[in-house]
């Protein structure tokens, strides 16, 4: 599943940019469940449901490399941009749009949820 169209989104403030370590992640508690907020080595931010499509592992605790994260449980690699498992593994995890305003990191959740 990809991100929702802009207008039905509710933007919530997750944290400040400096709170997310490079090549790392933070976990954001939402009504949809935990969302992993990733920051790549070159400072791109991505938000994915913190649940690997394979066996539900917490992706936030995986090793971040390039624009991917390797799940800590069984090593599936997931594309941060679209949540797709890297072939030949097959699966997909929900993604959410991320916006940075000044120092503040905002995550777009489906309207009414958060």
């Amino acid at each position: 599943m990809s991100a929702q169209p802009e207008r039905s989104l509710r933007w919530v403030e997750a944290c400040l940019l400096g709170d997310v370590p490079r090549q790392g992640a933070r976990v954001l508690e939402t009504s949809l469940g935990p969302v992993a907020l990733f920051r790549t080595a070159d400072d791109e931010l991505y938000a994915l449901l913190d649940r690997c499509p394979h066996r539900g592992g917490p992706l936030s605790q995986g090793l971040v490399y390039g624009r991917r994260v390797a799940c800590p449980l069984h090593g599936w690699s997931i594309e941060l941009a679209d949540g797709q498992a890297v072939p030949p593994d097959e699966g997909c995890v929900r993604t959410f749009p991320v916006r940075v305003e000044g120092d503040r990191v905002l995550v777009g959740l489906p309207g009414g949820e958060g």
Binding site: E13, Q23, D42, G57, P58, Q61, Y65, G66, V107
Partner: protein
């Protein structure tokens, strides 16, 4: 866009394109010319097609749609006749032209046709392509007699196929014995006997003088005057690199098109791969080397420019169902060589291993080829085999499938036999993945099926299934394995660079060695982090982002995302006070499961990430430190009660175990390290299946190393015997330091010792006293920096560690 033209729509050229598309999908507009009117197919499987064991459709690797989907122009059935190097254009027979910026020649080879009278009669065929197979099948439909000229690999496969199709087959061979380039006389004799029992006839040694007939072949006349009736004659007397096109274009050719280590010809715009090339004086007719060439060539076509091809070792297997035969290296031996031979005529088993200078240089196996890939690895890697010599001929008895069917021949296993116990993958699923996805390497099978991707104990079995399913097209992992796909450098080369260029961070290594990816991958980052820490203790920067979750969070992640916490219990000895403290922590934090571990410790399971620092703080207060149960690190020292209590105890095994653990805790190692001390040879601490185990005896201490009780049970080997506890400590530290410096990341002590040999370890630790003391000093120096309790540190700096805190959204 630049233009790439491939001449030769076969396995080598197409493999190069596949590798190129992986590296640089947009680099070229690609045109492919093929003389045959098909997409690319798996030529090595023509034999099973002839024998009726596979269909043509099953061996197609790239159907026409594959080319279309990638925007590749395919001219199938158009033979290229000229290369105009000045205009940079190739032209096919029918006048089709294609301009190029880079040209890749993969013209393969042509079968040798004996220039005897009658060679051009109808009914005389070679065995090279689909058209040949179709001609043979037509002949089979009519039935009758077939004569195959040539008793080599290809000839015998043709003979077998024709026989299976109901022909009456005679093989005429020039030499004294069959497959003389792959087999010695005894193995060849066994092969001949087997094939004769199946109904093939052999006439050898015999030279073909003429093929007789008017219009159509009717008989083969031999030099001794004999005549053999024939309705079909198959010439399988060898292949020759196809160089005509290259020669005509003025490219330098000898036996093949001469290329350098980058697969470039003498014209820098023109590359060549496969059977048509000659590299360092050698030509290759098997598939595995072609794939290695393809990888290197693609690297240069993609403009990366760092890969080198330095030649290949090859091994042969015969694709005649029911005949098990393996041959590799220099199997004849000669001056300075020794042969180890095993023969069991009753079972039809013959094995010969040729050794030179303490290394395996060649092997011939007949009837039992289970160990072929292991021998091949030993040959290719030049592993010293002195320590293995006694058992060498019997094979790698624990060939990585311990406890799961031992000597079962993989071919005989049913499809539903479970091969990978970790991931529940059965043989049928592996075979299906190999055929459906056209897989050739262990890595590909791992990626698609997960078989052998977890604990790795079934790697040997998976490799055999692969070899058996794809025949000799199976591409064994390259000799010098790069550390990971981000680099061409091996573990050893990377470590050397770290030492010599004083590289002290993961980033510095990647920059210095021009890593192929921006920030590595889950394979290389943890390895590099370990290597810099091991090389430069106190100086190197420990990058938590390059550690996997367990080492980063100092706890073991569980299937539900919670963690387990194991405090250190020195030598497995505890006190009522400690136990009370543990019980209180367990109750206070509502730990769901409390479990005694195999390493004589207590495991607190089910702690959520956010609570870890609180649990550690409570344990820290009670005097506990981290047990490193989560790390590639020194884990436990298991002990028995020894002379303090036991009526058989000879030494204070408990006290010694505690001293060892105090000395070694905190050390990062290539893989986990478990130790044990037993107080007498009854060995209640099971010291002989540990990475290092001490067995106390009345006169001192035996030090055993390289054991493993896990996936692949391996008993330790005796390193030496010493007299005092002080010596035990020094030897232990020196052993660990040698392993820390030379073991590959992820490699346990058991495979490390199998790789370098116990003699080597003895030479460094036992025989070289000065070297041992130097290792011991380096270990102590490293420990000065390593022996810090990570739990205590995390407790202190809690506010600065975000990973233990979960964010809450604010609108």
């Amino acid at each position: 866009m630049r233009r790439l033209v491939l001449v030769g729509n076969g396995m080598a050229g197409m493999r190069t394109l596949e590798e190129l598309l992986k590296l640089a999908p947009e680099a070229y507009a690609i045109t492919v010319f093929g003389a045959e009117p098909h997409g690319n197919y798996n030529r090595i499987l023509l034999s099973p097609v002839l024998a009726g064991e596979k269909t043509l459709e099953e061996i197609i690797l790239h159907p026409r749609t594959w080319y279309e989907e990638r925007g590749i122009t395919l001219h199938a059935g158009k033979r290229v006749v000229t290369i105009d190097r000045a205009r940079r254009v190739v032209r096919a027979e029918d006048g089709t032209e294609a301009p190029y910026d880079r040209l890749l020649l993969a013209t393969g080879s042509r079968p040798v046709v004996l220039p005897v009278p009658g060679h051009d009669l109808e009914g005389v065929v070679t065995f090279r392509d689909i058209a040949d197979v179709e001609r043979m099948l037509e002949a089979c439909a009519r039935g009758g007699r077939a004569v195959v000229i040539g008793g080599g690999l290809l000839g015998l496969e043709a003979a077998h196929g024709l026989h299976r199709r109901g022909m009456n087959v005679t093989v005429v061979h020039l030499m004294e014995h069959l497959m003389e380039r792959q087999l010695d006389a005894p193995a060849a004799a066994l092969l001949r006997r087997t094939l004769e029992e199946r109904g093939l006839r052999f006439v050898m040694p015999a030279r073909t003088e003429a093929l007789l007939g008017s219009g159509r072949v009717e008989a083969v006349r031999l030099a001794d005057g004999r005549e053999l009736e024939a309705d079909l004659v198959v010439m399988a007397v060898g292949i020759r690199p196809e160089t005509e096109l290259a020669r005509a274009a003025g490219l330098h050719c000898e036996r093949g098109i001469v290329v350098d280590d980058t697969l470039q010809t003498y014209d820098p715009r023109i590359y060549a791969v496969g059977e048509c090339v000659q590299h360092r004086g050698r030509t290759y007719g098997l598939v595995a080397p072609l794939f290695e060439q393809a990888k290197v060539c693609a690297n240069h076509l993609a403009g990366l420019g760092w890969a080198r091809y330095t030649g290949s070792q090859t091994a042969t297997q015969l694709k005649v169902s029911g005949v098990e035969l393996f041959s590799a290296g220099d199997f004849q031996g000669g001056e300075g060589c020794e042969a180890i031979v095993f023969q069991d005529p009753g079972r039809g088993v013959y094995k010969k291993l040729v050794l030179r200078d303490d290394r395996l240089v060649g092997a011939v196996l007949y009837g039992e080829t289970l160990d072929g890939s292991w021998y091949f690895d030993l040959i290719r890697d030049g592993t010293p085999v002195g320590d293995l010599r006694e058992h060498l001929i019997f094979g790698q008895t624990h060939l990585g499938d311990a406890g799961r069917g031992g000597g079962d021949r993989v071919a005989a296993l049913p499809d539903e036999a479970e091969i990978c116990g970790c991931n529940g993958v059965c043989k049928g699923a592996i075979v299906r993945a190999i055929t459906e996805h056209k897989l050739f390497t262990l890595e590909e099978v791992r990626a698609h099926t997960k078989a052998s991707a977890s604990c790795g104990s079934c790697t040997g079995l998976v490799e055999q299934i692969l070899a058996h399913t794809v025949g000799e097209g199976y591409a064994p992992s390259p000799k010098e394995k790069p550390l990971c796909p981000c680099t061409e450098y091996t573990h050893e080369q990377v470590r050397q660079a770290i030492r010599e260029a004083r590289l002290t961070s993961v980033r510095a290594v990647m920059d210095y060695l021009e890593w192929g990816s921006p920030d590595g991958c889950p394979t290389c980052r943890p390895a590099l982090n370990y290597y810099v820490l091991a090389a430069w203790p106190g100086e190197a920067e420990d990058d938590p982002r390059s550690r996997l979750v367990n080492e980063r969070l100092h706890a073991n992640i569980q299937k539900d995302g919670t963690y387990s916490v194991v405090p250190r219990i020195w030598g497995g000895v505890t006190t009522p006070r400690e136990l009370r403290a543990l019980a209180e922590v367990a109750e206070r934090f509502q730990i769901p499961t409390v479990k005694i571990t195999g390493g004589q410790r207590i495991d607190l399971l089910g702690v959520p990430r956010e609570r870890l620092p609180d649990v550690w703080a409570a344990l820290h207060e009670a005097g506990f430190v981290s047990g490193h149960a989560y790390g590639k690190a020194v884990r436990t020292v298991k002990t028995c009660v020894g002379s303090e209590w036991c009526r058989f105890g000879t030494q204070d095994s408990t006290g010694l175990g505690i001293r060892m653990e105090r000395l070694c805790w905190g050390a990062w190692t290539p893989a986990k390290v478990k130790m044990a001390v037993s107080g007498c040879p009854r060995n209640c601490a099971e010291a002989t299946i540990k990475d290092l185990g001490v067995v106390c005896v009345d006169s001192g201490y035996e030090i055993h190393v390289g054991g493993n009780g896990g996936v692949k049970v391996r008993a330790t080997e005796l390193l030496c015997k010493v007299a005092t506890e002080e010596e035990v400590l020094e030897y232990t530290a020196a052993f660990l330091q040698l392993y820390r410096e030379e073991g590959r990341y992820g490699e346990r002590t058991a495979p490390w010792i199998e790789r370098v040999g116990l003699s080597y370890v003895k030479a460094r630790i036992v025989e070289d006293a000065e070297g041992r003391r130097a290792l011991y000093q380096r270990f102590l120096e490293a420990q000065r920096h390593a022996q810090r309790d990570p739990w205590a540190e995390r407790v202190r700096e809690r506010q600065r560690r975000p990973e233990f805190q979960t964010l809450r959204a604010t609108a």
